[in-house]
């Protein structure tokens, strides 16, 4: 299956938006505005959706041509809400998690997507997204295929260990051993939740 690479999944969806207006503003503009108002970093709804590596929402206005004259030009019949996400695991559990953790945001963003008014629950949402899905091999290069928590903990450990190594270079063996023991206790290497980086966190 082309959308899957190891344990990572590359989802690409194009959801058509209703052609129309509300109080002088077209639905695609309302939708774009809502996307642009989403919080960033830890406040982003994607930070709440488990196992999201990298996700993006944007509006596809039309197709563009760079050729000269006398070329038959196609146009899209509507504008599309494009939702792409790279995540850990399989599609259905991921979308279930999306609905469970960010239902209000999902409803708000997809409100003017064609036929989204029929989506009432997680099962409907999964069915809807699958209808809009493209088969692609678009993956975010910069991530392993481990679970998000595993990756965040790994990054945290790497960073903390680097600082430990820098701080303790050349120390006598006994002192180093004692310091490392303390370091390992603080690090709680088997505790995947804490201490660690949090989803969406960009600064210590």
């Amino acid at each position: 299956m082309a959308n899957k690479f190891g344990n990572s999944y590359g989802l690409t969806t194009l959801c058509p938006l209703i052609n129309g207006h509300q109080q002088h503003t077209s639905f695609d503009k309302i939708t774009r505005h809502r996307i642009q108002l989403l919080e960033e970093n830890s406040g982003s709804p994607f930070a709440r959706i488990p196992d999201t590596y990298f996700a993006r929402l944007f509006i596809l206005n039309d197709v563009f041509f760079e050729q000269g004259n006398n070329v038959a030009r196609d146009h899209l019949q509507s504008k599309y809400l494009v939702f792409t996400s790279n995540f850990h695991g399989d599609l259905e559990p991921y979308l279930q998690g999306m609905w469970n953790n960010a239902e209000a945001d999902v409803r708000h963003i997809w409100q003017y997507a064609v036929a989204f008014d029929k989506v009432q629950n997680a099962a409907d949402f999964i069915r809807y997204i699958k209808r809009c899905q493209l088969t692609t091999t678009l993956f975010f290069n910069g991530s392993t295929d481990d679970s998000l928590q595993q990756q965040l903990k790994s990054l945290y450990v790497k960073q903390a260990f680097t600082e430990f190594a820098l701080q303790h270079q050349g120390k006598p063996v006994a002192e180093l051993r004692a310091a490392f023991k303390t370091f390992m206790q603080q690090l709680q290497i088997d505790n995947i939740e804490t201490p660690s980086w949090q989803p969406g966190q960009t600064q210590l």
């Binding site: 680097t162 600082e163 190594a165 820098l166 701080q167 270079q169 050349g170």
Partner: protein, 518 residues
Amino acid sequence: MTMDRALDLYDIQGNICKGYGRFGFPKARYFFLEFHQYAGARAFLQQLIPLITTAEPWSEKDHPDQSDKPQATTNIGFTYAGLSALGLPRRSLDGFPLEFRMGMKNRAGILGDEGPSDPANWDPVWQGEPVHAWLSVNGQSRQAVVDRYRQIEQLLQQSQGSVTIRPGHKGPQGSLQPWQDASAVYENGRVTPKEHFGYVDGIGNPYFAGCGNDPSRLPGRGKLTRDDGWQPLATGEFILGHIDEAREYPIAPEPHLLALNGTFMVYRKLHENVTTFNRYVDRLATDFDGSRELLMAKFSGRWPDNGAPLVLAPDDAAKAELDQQLAQLTAKAAAGDHTAATELRALKAKWIDFTYNKDRHGSRCPIGAHIRRANTRAALETEKDAFNTPSALDDRRRLLRRGLPYGGEDETPADDTEQGIIFMCIGASLERQFEFVQQQWINYSNDFHLGNDRDVLIGANNGQLTDKHIIQVNPKQGKAPFFCTHLPRMVETRGGDYFFLPGITALRMIAQGIIDPT
């Protein structure tokens, strides 16, 4: 049809194709002009043109008569503001690349000029409106420099205020000078190729097609071929109006004659905090497994005393052996032994002609060492045959360096005395070459898989724990790498700008006011 055509070296300014430093010009004076009235400024340029030095060949072979080489040289470059003040047509001005039009000060974010290097802290000459032109005089002696300077000063006086010198260079004992003097560093009265930290500098400048230099200088200076050979870099990497490594003409203004045989130059006054450097090295050397010299070499990639690359001599024992070999061959060659002379030349060629192919882990030359950052020599091709040629990623980021040290003559170098390097580098694209190297390779390390590490010597480090440099070891030897932490700011930017160095034809046309892009 011929693939390559000789460059018109008489139409290219001097110091571009070959560095003056190598030809016995250890002294220089740089000064900066303001144009107040363009007719007068053009008249001044017309009088200056006969003094401008070109890239005409002067080596002993080309000209057995040594008198051909002048006592002093003169060269000129213009900022965007300067070209504008000279009345270049709007369409020609608009054709210059964005970074040139913006000037160095406005590129501070890209160049890492923050904190002590922030443009607000630069010498007074750089404050306010940009300077209009850079003039440089190099001399075989200080007297030759002063004589040529006086000659130009007279032309300035004749311009009756149309052209003036912008003063404001910080000099010795808190003085402000109307010019920036520069000089090779002397030891026991003899010229050395060293800078004030004690490193031999300026080794291994690029070799490009048509430069007129001896082809024996090509290995190590050109671009690498698949069979481990070297070819000259495309002319257009360094001279405008010629095809570059992408088989394209570099971005350049119209008309064609304005750009042809011209190029861009970075001028940057880099202050060296000599006390900070020495203290840091002294402190670290007590913990380091090796000599102080080896530690310094692990910062730069070359041994400070004679510039031998670490790839050739990776530790103190190998260096001692190399020095012995060098001394023996030098003595024999001096005594007339031709075989020894040939061997000596072959050995010295290894100062330049090397790659990091057998040093992937950096156990000889650290991956973050200065010379491995500034000239990556195919080290970025980490997978076999990943690119068309081994150095494809490096060939478009090469810098012709043409600087000289300054200061250190009248006072003992410390942090608060005035000494450093006048860094000048030349290339067809400031953005693709100098700015990229400065931003991505000097002040960042993603391409080297070294995270946020910066260059030890010229990086914008701030003394924090993670401001670090890693001295790698051979992973099979079971030794620990050595971490140089809390790197301080060794070098601070004290000013500079971007200059266009026109060809001689273009300079005449600018002086005549006949640049016409239509």
